[in-house]
């Protein structure tokens, strides 16, 4: 982190891959795959460097970048108002998200080996998607955030629509329209804030919105703040997703190629939580407090709704999709608790579910490629032919259901710890979800791996060497966080302090 | 002072404008539609000329404006008719309601 434009280079490094790919002939399959994989490495490397230097005590502010970008209206008359800078920056939270993104991108690039056609286009879009995701977390102002947010939308649409399964186009459209609406609502909020305060910088906004006598271009009433927060909730609620805005996500998880679902479930959904925490809590702390109960209730509803629906799905991907909904409920529960434990739990859950979902979907990809189905009823006894895959699948399920020693437990525990302090009865209802999680996951995973084989899976091979890499890395990280959670909690300390200061906790 | 107030001229123009409009939008023969539009423009001219004499600040400009309108109207009519003839060559009809190959 000693050179200039560190963050820009980090964020835009995958573009290099796109550039190289555009000169490669379409037919060079293995070369394209290799380039696609290699292009994810600079970002990974740089993000890890940043992480370890931060852990070693380096200051993240040194990474901030600011270049004047757009000035609306006449700068002589308006001064600093209505100017948008290109500004990137990191804090503990976004750093973690960037590391998560970089790691999952690299792993998903490996998982992309299962892609069957048009690798060149695939990897170009894939890398563009990575740029968008990295940018979302590095953006220091709302407009930039939004731009990167939308940049993730387009490649994902194509990646789902072209390389997905049978109903891919349907899923792609579903994705597009829901997320389009979500981002539209988000844009309104961003623009109202920008138009009324004249700035889009997140820190500046937080300062302005929480000042006693703010200097505004136009007044913002309390009702309006509330309205904006609710709009934010809807916008990020689509992404997260919050019941009842979730149905697109199920479709995407089922239809998209596994490597993309890894990124989708691992990172893209998390943008919703990231946004709620950064913007919802940061900019509207007072309003957020009055919505806390609603959030917690929504969280419990998500948790239970997802769990109960996951319980009766026959397709394993559907189970995982609803499981994602259920797990995102825990994020909401943590946020609704609105205390240190809760928020930290929510952030942990964001990371943890990112890893776990990526792991599970990767494994789905692995066995789907071999048996051509993910329907539980058509599977069974897979542990015989693919003991290692089955073992990891079970490990993934255990992580997902919150087994101690794995990351899922830490986050779930903290979120509930937080909620029990504020709303014990609600939390107790939510605790049913913990049981249900075990119920549906075991039903599904055991249905696939244990018992009698539904048909003869003779001749299927277990995981190949390269497939071990993502799995081992993911399991390693999951266990690392589960056993030594300080790897996450320490970088988060200052971010959490800021948030708690805002909400007066 | 004139015996005929400006309102009378304006009212006449309004009536003619409405008639022209109604004709332009209901008549079936395209030629009649075109000529109805001419009537509308004539109504405009009455307004202009009336205002040129009885307006707030009477001036010759109104009449000049009217002349321009007449000129343009003539050109428009000519072009409209030319298009009609081209169309007629291909479709053998001048009925405006039959010109609906493109819709929805």
């Amino acid at each position: 982190m000693n050179f200039a434009y560190f963050l820009s280079i980090l964020v835009f490094s995958p573009l290099l891959g796109i550039l190289v790919l555009s000169f490669l002939p379409k037919t060079q399959e293995s070369l394209i795959k290799m380039v696609g994989f290699l292009a994810t490495l600079p970002a990974l490397l740089l993000s890890l460097i940043a992480y370890f230097q931060y852990r070693a005590g380096a200051n993240l502010e040194g990474l901030n970048e600011k270049v004047s970008w757009i000035q609306f209206g006449n700068s002589e008359q308006l001064g600093n108002l209505f100017s948008i800078d290109y500004e990137l920056g990191l804090d503990g939270f976004s750093l973690i998200m960037i590391v998560l993104t970089a790691v999952l991108s690299t792993l998903a690039a490996i998982a992309s080996i299962h892609i069957k056609k048009e690798w060149k286009g695939y990897f170009m879009l894939f890398l563009l998607l990575e740029v968008g995701m990295l940018g979302v977390f590095a953006a220091e102002n709302l407009i930039l955030f939004f731009i990167f947010f939308e940049i993730t939308l387009i490649p994902t649409f194509f990646l789902i629509g072209k390389w997905g399964y049978f109903e891919k186009e349907n899923a792609a459209y579903s994705f597009l329209i829901y997320n389009g609406l979500g981002s539209a609502v988000l844009l309104i909020v961003i623009m109202v804030l920008f138009a009324r305060t004249g700035t889009a910088n997140i820190d500046a906004l937080m300062a302005v919105m929480n000042a006693d006598n703010p200097q505004l271009v136009a007044q913002i009433s309390e009702d309006m703040k509330m309205g904006m927060l609710i709009a934010l909730l809807i916008a990020f609620g689509v992404k997260l997703p919050i019941f009842p805005l979730h149905s697109w996500m199920v479709r995407v998880h089922v239809q998209a190629p596994p490597s993309i679902v890894m990124l989708h479930a691992g990172v893209l959904l998390k943008i919703g939580a990231y946004g709620l925490i950064r913007f919802g809590m940061g900019i509207f702390p007072e309003q957020f407090q009055s919505l806390a109960v609603l959030l917690a209730v929504l969280g419990v509803v998500n948790l239970l709704y997802g769990a109960f629906l996951a319980f009766i799905q026959t397709d394993f991907k559907m189970v995982l999709a609803y499981s994602s909904i259920s797990h995102m409920g825990i994020v909401l529960i943590g946020l609704g608790a609105l205390n240190e434990a809760g928020i930290q739990g929510a952030i942990f859950q964001v990371v943890s579910h990112g890893l776990i979902a990526a792991l599970l979907f990767f494994l789905v990809g692995v066995f789907y490629e071999r048996v051509q189905t993910s329907n539980i009823q058509n599977l069974g006894g897979l542990a015989k032919g693919m003991p290692i895959t089955a073992g990891f699948l079970l490990a993934g399920a255990m992580a997902s259901l919150g087994l101690p020693g794995m990351s899922g437990f830490v986050s779930e525990f903290m979120a509930f710890l937080g909620l029990f302090k504020e709303m014990p009865v609600l939390a107790a209802v939510g605790a049913i979800g913990i049981i249900m999680t075990a119920v549906y996951l075991l039903r599904a995973v055991l249905g696939i791996t244990y018992g009698k084989a539904h048909r003869d899976f003779a001749g299927i091979t277990d995981m190949r060497k390269f497939e071990f890499v993502p799995v081992l890395v993911l399991v390693g990280l999951i266990v690392l966080i589960g056993v030594y959670p300080s790897v996450l909690s320490e970088p988060l300390t200052s971010t959490l302090e800021t948030i708690m200061l805002g909400i007066g906790g | 002072m004139s015996a005929v107030p400006v309102q009378a001229y304006l009212a006449l123009a309004l009536i003619l404008f409405c008639i022209g409009l109604y004709g332009a939008l209901t008549k079936r023969n395209t030629v009649i539609v075109l000529i109805s539009i001419e009537l509308m423009l004539n109504a405009v001219n009455i307004n202009l000329v009336a205002f040129s004499k009885y307006g707030i600040a009477p001036s010759i400009t109104g009449q000049i404006f009217a002349l321009f309108v007449i000129t343009v109207a003539a050109a428009e009519a000519a072009v409209g008719l030319a298009i009609l003839i081209a169309l007629y060559r291909n479709r053998q009809t001048v009925n405006i309601d039959e010109m609906d190959t493109m819709k929805h």
Partner: protein
């Protein structure tokens, strides 16, 4: 209001003009319609005279009652015209339009019926044509020139569009 000569003239001209318009709407034969409208055009010219716009009146007679009517009649003759021109369909549209026209006329009418404009004496009638000429060639020279382009465009365009298509083939034959 006195029944001055001007008033009588206006009333009769206006009546003719309106009747011409109404006939346009109600006659069934296309040619009749055009002829009805000629009356309207001519009486409008009369009205221009009442409004001290002799030059405009003259142009009106020349262009509308003359040129435009004639080319319209040509147009009618050139194309096969079924004499009756009554649309079979569009009853609802007509009703809607009628209501719209009524509403529009009503709204405009309440704007003009007691419009109060102080009349100032004018000298428009003095050397009307000269006044127009002076204004046109000094003040409005630019639109005037643009109009010339416009007419040229209309001319070429009309020729291009109306020219018989099979000329080439005819030549070849």
């Amino acid at each position: 209001m006195t029944f001055s000569g001007e008033f009588l003239a206006f009333m009769s001209l206006a009546l003719v003009a309106v009747i011409g318009g109404v006939l346009l709407l109600n006659l069934t034969k296309v040619v009749h319609m055009v002829v009805a409208l000629v009356f309207t055009f001519v009486s409008i010219a009369g009205i221009y005279v009442l409004l001290s716009a002799e030059f405009v009146a003259a142009v009106q007679i020349l262009i509308y009652s003359g040129a435009i009517t004639i080319i319209m009649l040509f147009g009618i003759m050139l194309t096969r015209h079924n004499d009756t021109s009554e649309p079979q369909t569009g009853r609802w549209r007509k009703l809607l339009l009628f209501l719209g026209v009524l509403g529009f006329a009503f709204a405009v009418y309440i704007g003009i019926y007691n419009l109060d404009i102080a009349q100032t004496p004018t000298d428009l009638h003095v050397n009307n044509t000269e006044q127009i000429g002076i204004e046109l060639y000094s003040k409005f020279i630019i639109p005037f020139e643009v109009t010339s382009v416009l007419l040229l465009v209309a001319l070429i365009g009309s020729i291009v569009l109306a020219k018989r298509d099979d000329e080439k083939e005819a030549e070849e034959e």
